[in-house]
Subunit: 381 residues, 2 copies
């Protein structure tokens, strides 16, 4: 028997009852039956976004929604500010450049969080900046950027919108899009939403919708104005990913039952426990300033082959951690706290990690990580 | 008890064993396990496309692949020829215009098929045309366009590519992309492929890949060159729709077992039987020239409310037919033959149709449709 444990920051495990819901007979998408489900899930997404605005559902991965946020609001020659502090920060730049949008960037070492002051400085020296693009949680570095504080800076500027990639923050952290002043918030299905990948969600503020009116970049499949019109009629511009929307309906029912406060707290506790465990075992965390509650990145010793470790844990022990991406390949191990993941999953993760690194030759004390994790978790079970 | 029968041309029913395959625990997409499945399905898609070229899998609906075929090959100011003979023909025009691509069109009444001669005439009078865009099967009109014959015309022109929307033809008809000379062929998951919507497939000829090199339209999520590079390394540029790819793997296993010849024949027989049934009941078909084997469109009498009929069949009897789209709303009923649909499903469709129209007040002979269908089907069971 080789039980499998999916502990990577997306895709995350899907609850059995959600999988079975998606396994029900297919229904047609142009029916009152589907429209009812669709309108219901769009409504239930709003508290997770902290918005009264329309939340749109797209058939595509999170990158599609990131692209949508640029092509619907910016024109060739416009300038945006990007926080480039990881793989997904870099993606904003790549998308913008594909569409002739100019990029001013704040380059940070992987592991650092941006500060609101750094953003403000750039906005003062480059008043032409039309959009500030940031990850709330940068999955590649397991870092959180202070989006609430940044929003306070950006919302004072009439001609600048604040765009947040919430792919691993919505459903992990309380997010108050309207109150804080986030203008565009995007997320995907395969993280805190406990679904397979294939859906993306996006919401725009009134201010952002005004940018849509003047944006000259071409778009068709990702045309948000057309989608809004269709979705506010309880349908979609193009064929939706029906089974995933039905899964979403079940997921949102589960999330409502658990309660958002409890969900955010669960992520906090699992993250805290994992971080304390790593430190108790003598490791350093990649996140220097504000570690993300979506996943914990652990720096491996210089002579340790992190890639081989992740591979062997997966193939020999059924434990899927994530390694590092791009230049961090082999140098870190990332452990997820996302979605369908409870306190005992964190114990599994920590225990598997400490046994794994011990077997791989590191001199650590077996049980020290688990003990540290238990000290955090015990107050919450 | 209200058993449900999904008889609309997409989404189509998903086989139980495929739904259960997709309900298995989620796996990570950056693993040898997923790569093996992914490379295997890409290989197995080739015979369905009739190609040795790379078939790419996108997370999105068929429209995303249609858009990809334009933005990756055409530049603003280029001119294309579109056969506008239905809702999806019109979509080529809308996409092209969104990207500044000029459109010459052949406008046909809904129900008509284009001829290769009409295409040739346009290409002679407009030698600047860089692409010919057509539906093989136009789902809105249940018409087939003679793509093999059109390919023979287009392939003689070095500076023109032939782009085929095969969304309801791949898996329905034998398609020989390479031999016939189709340069781009696109399809989706929720038709003959018996899957939920959310995946699109696209293949390009060597000639089309050359167009990609010079095309100046912007693209990121739908950048096919980047996708090809990733997919030929058994991965994807962005997160794939994992559960649907796993479903595809099961579907392709089932299709291989049934045999492509048998699949194409099954669609032919179900379509023939439905058409003969409609005629025996005194109805006319919408398709004037070449009816499609994907679905049959039946013209309803002038004073008959087709929309009400489709609604009542669905809500009162559990039978989902499709009505007409756009200006054909209420005027036709469309019955699907696509995908997980066998001879007895056709009997159900015909019987439900004849009982339904009788109850709705039409003077037809009960059983006449089924008898006509049986006369076709009996030689194949």
């Amino acid at each position: 028997m080789l039980k499998k444990y999916l502990l990577s920051p997306g895709p995350t495990p899907v609850p059995e009852e959600v999988m079975l819901e998606m396994a029900k007979p297919m229904i047609h998408h142009r029916t009152p039956q589907f429209s009812k489900i669709f309108s219901n899930v769009r409504e239930k997404l709003k508290p997770l976004f902290g918005t009264k605005e329309d939340v749109l559902i797209l058939a595509g991965s999170g990158t599609a929604a990131m692209e949508a946020s640029i092509v619907n609001t910016m024109s060739p020659g416009d300038k945006i500010l990007v926080v480039n502090a990881g793989k997904f920060g870099k993606r904003w730049i790549d998308i913008a450049q594909s569409y002739g949008v100019l990029v001013e960037s704040i380059e940070l070492a992987w592991g650092r969080s941006v500060t609101a002051a750094q953003i403000e400085e750039k906005l003062i020296s480059h008043p032409e900046i039309k959009g500030v693009f940031v990850q709330a949680s940068e999955t590649s570095t397991t870092v959180y950027h202070p989006v609430k504080e940044i929003a306070e800076i950006v919302k004072l500027r009439e001609n600048t919108i604040f765009v947040v990639d919430g792919i691993t923050s919505v459903g992990v952290y309380e997010t108050k899009m309207d109150e804080w002043g986030i203008d565009i918030l995007v997320t995907g299905s395969q993280k805190a939403f406990m679904l397979p990948p294939g859906l993306a969600f996006i919401a725009l503020s009134e201010k952002a919708w005004k940018f849509v009116e003047t944006s000259k970049n071409p778009r068709f499949y990702l045309d948000l104005k057309k989608e809004r019109k269709a979705q506010n009629n309880d349908t979609t511009a193009y064929t939706p990913a029906v089974s995933l929307v039905i899964g979403l309906s079940k997921v949102l029912e589960l999330m409502e039952k658990e309660g958002l406060k409890s969900i955010y707290n669960r992520h906090q506790v699992c993250a805290d426990a994992t971080r304390e465990a790593a430190k108790a075992l003598g490791f350093r965390l990649l996140a220097q300033d504000i570690p993300s509650n979506a996943a914990t990145g652990i720096i491996m010793p210089e002579d340790f082959d992190g890639q081989k470790f992740v591979k062997s844990m997966r193939d020999d022990s059924g434990i899927t951690f994530a390694g590092g991406q791009d230049h961090m390949k082999g140098k870190i191990v990332r452990i997820s706290h996302l979605g369908y993941h409870d306190f005992m999953d964190t114990i599994i993760a920590v225990s598997a990690f400490e046994m794994g690194v011990k077997k791989a030759g590191l001199d650590i004390e077996l049980g020290a990580g688990v003990a540290a994790a238990e000290k955090i978790i015990i107050d919450h079970i």
